[in-house]
């Protein structure tokens, strides 16, 4: 038990989880924005926009996330010299946020599309009947209802994003999975304890998100 406690003294476990939460926070916001844009593209009147949205989703959703993150760091920064922050370490944080964003935006887009599917045709017809164009009917009628219908799938994306933030280790961000490796390197004798700490850390973060989004989806569901 002393050994167990010493793990927390020796290694900044909480700090590492905090980095994951930050990654998740920023990537979630940006992915929501980008995903919404993509979803609007996919239901828009312009064929080329629909095509671009579909292509984006097909490409990004089907690529392993590790590869995307590595490309962000070694490709965008390593080869093309793109920096998102003047601070050396902060730059990798934002590049990883970028990688997480572009990957999960594809999933947000699909979640929103499924939300759009829950909106009855009559709503769109009514919107057009009162003279709203595409932009207005999407903004004022369809999307607000779609978001409420998509809370559960969006919650799932958020859960996935939380766990996926551990991939940022591939992008040189000092977060939990990197710390996990480091702890095993130094304390191979406590391996099982180390794993339990990380498993329960994630349960503690993820289960509340799951419960919150489930209850939110019930509260927000559009009664039909």
């Amino acid at each position: 038990m002393d050994d167990f406690a010493s793990l927390f003294d020796e290694f900044d476990v909480l700090g590492a989880f905090w980095v994951n939460i930050q990654l998740t926070f920023f990537a979630a916001i940006f992915a929501l924005v980008l995903g919404t844009v993509l979803a609007v593209m996919r239901i828009s009147p312009v064929p080329s926009l629909r095509w671009a949205g579909t292509t984006y989703v097909t490409l990004l959703r089907n690529t392993p996330l590790t590869v995307i993150i590595v490309f962000c760091v070694l490709g965008l920064w390593g080869q093309l010299g793109i920096t998102l922050s003047s601070d050396f370490q902060r730059n990798f944080f934002w590049l990883s946020v970028l990688g997480l964003t572009v990957y999960h935006a594809a999933f947000v887009c699909e979640a929103l599309r499924s939300g759009v599917n829950t909106v009855p045709v009559g709503q769109a017809e009514a919107a057009r009947a009162i003279g709203l164009g595409f932009g207005d009917s999407a903004r004022l009628v369809i999307l607000p209802q779609a978001f409420r219908g998509a809370v559960a799938p969006l919650g799932n994306v958020l859960i996935a994003l939380t766990k996926n933030s551990t991939v940022a280790a591939a992008g040189s961000v000092a977060e939990t999975s990197g710390l996990l490796k480091q702890m095993i390197e130094f304390r191979p004798d406590l391996m099982v304890a180390i794993f339990l700490v990380f498993a329960f850390g994630f349960v503690l973060i993820v289960v509340p998100i799951g419960l919150a989004t489930t209850s939110l989806s019930r509260r927000l569901a559009v009664a039909r």
Binding site: L74, F88, S172, G178, K181, I184, F186, M191
Partner: protein
């Protein structure tokens, strides 16, 4: 009826999970591994790296590298022909587990002998003394040691000790890039976005010896740590002495030098001559 079956299934699943947990907490001594029973006859399972050119690399069905050559030599002395060896991948994070679980009989995988590790596994050797060093662009003469790294960009592998050591002991102002593998680091080095890659010198030499990297990178040759590469063995092993004798024989009959020359010397790398070839420690 259906609910009862389901309840039974759930209980069973729960029991299995519990069994997995509880058996995990006892020591490995009582694990009667099916794999360990057959050592001595038949085949031997040896853990190596699969992805470290010059040390342990799997190319189709052939295995190359310095670690592989040492492993083959030692296995031969223990009475296993080359065909009896089954090479198993042992990435850094899994080495202790693999030995404790008797998934492998021995490990030759750039495995440094440390006190923490000795708590859970045994070592024979060292069979090589590596030292932490730097890999830099071939035309870069500004970096000759870790002190020159202040303000420079340095790449190493995630969770490894070597990069942290530079920040702690040599140059606090170093910018650190952590990557999943050394090859990624070399890519960043050849692109010019990092100034140096750090880890054990022999690993760097292996990377520098890849044809694609030839003439692009070089090992600085100023090692600033001592990593004693040992042969990882299960804690309760009886093979330590035999392995130690085999290593001594390999150094004496020149095969050791030849293995080094064949695998890592093409880049002009010379191991630290003060410490190599090492004198294997006595077995406990």
């Amino acid at each position: 009826m259906r609910t009862r079956i389901m309840a039974t299934a759930l209980t069973l699943a729960g029991a299995l999970t519990l069994a997995a947990c509880s058996s995990d907490s006892d020591t490995s001594d009582d694990a009667t591994g099916g794999s360990s029973g057959d050592s001595g006859g038949g085949t031997i399972r040896i853990g190596i790296k699969f992805d470290q050119p010059g040390l342990g690399f799997k190319d189709g069905d052939t295995y190359t590298g310095f670690d592989v050559d040492v492993a083959k030599y030692v296995a031969d002395k223990l009475g296993y022909a080359e065909d009896d060896i089954e090479f198993v991948e042992s990435p850094s994070a899994q080495r202790e587990t693999m030995l404790q679980n008797k998934q492998v009989d021995m490990i030759f995988a750039t495995y440094s002998i440390t006190d923490a590790r000795k708590e859970v596994v045994s070592f024979a050797g060292p069979y090589f003394v590596a030292g932490q060093d730097l890999l830099v662009a071939v035309d870069d003469d500004t970096i000759t040691g870790p002190e020159d790294l202040d303000g420079k960009n340095l790449c190493s592998v995630t969770g490894s000790t070597s990069a942290q050591r530079i920040k702690d002991e040599h140059a606090a102002g170093t910018n650190l890039l952590e990557q999943p593998g050394y090859s990624e680091c070399v890519t960043a080095l050849t692109a010019g976005t990092v100034d140096a890659v750090t880890t054990d010198d022999i690993i760097l030499a292996g990377l520098a010896a890849i044809p694609a990297n030839e003439g692009k990178v070089k090992v600085v040759g100023n090692p600033f740590s001592e990593e004693n590469y040992g042969v990882g063995l299960p804690k309760d092993t009886d093979k330590c002495q035999a392995v130690t004798d085999a290593i001594k024989a390999m150094i004496e009959d020149g095969s050791w030098q030849k293995a080094l020359d064949d695998n890592v010397s093409t880049s002009g790398y010379k191991p630290n001559a003060d410490l190599n070839p090492p004198e294997p420690a006595a077995c406990a």
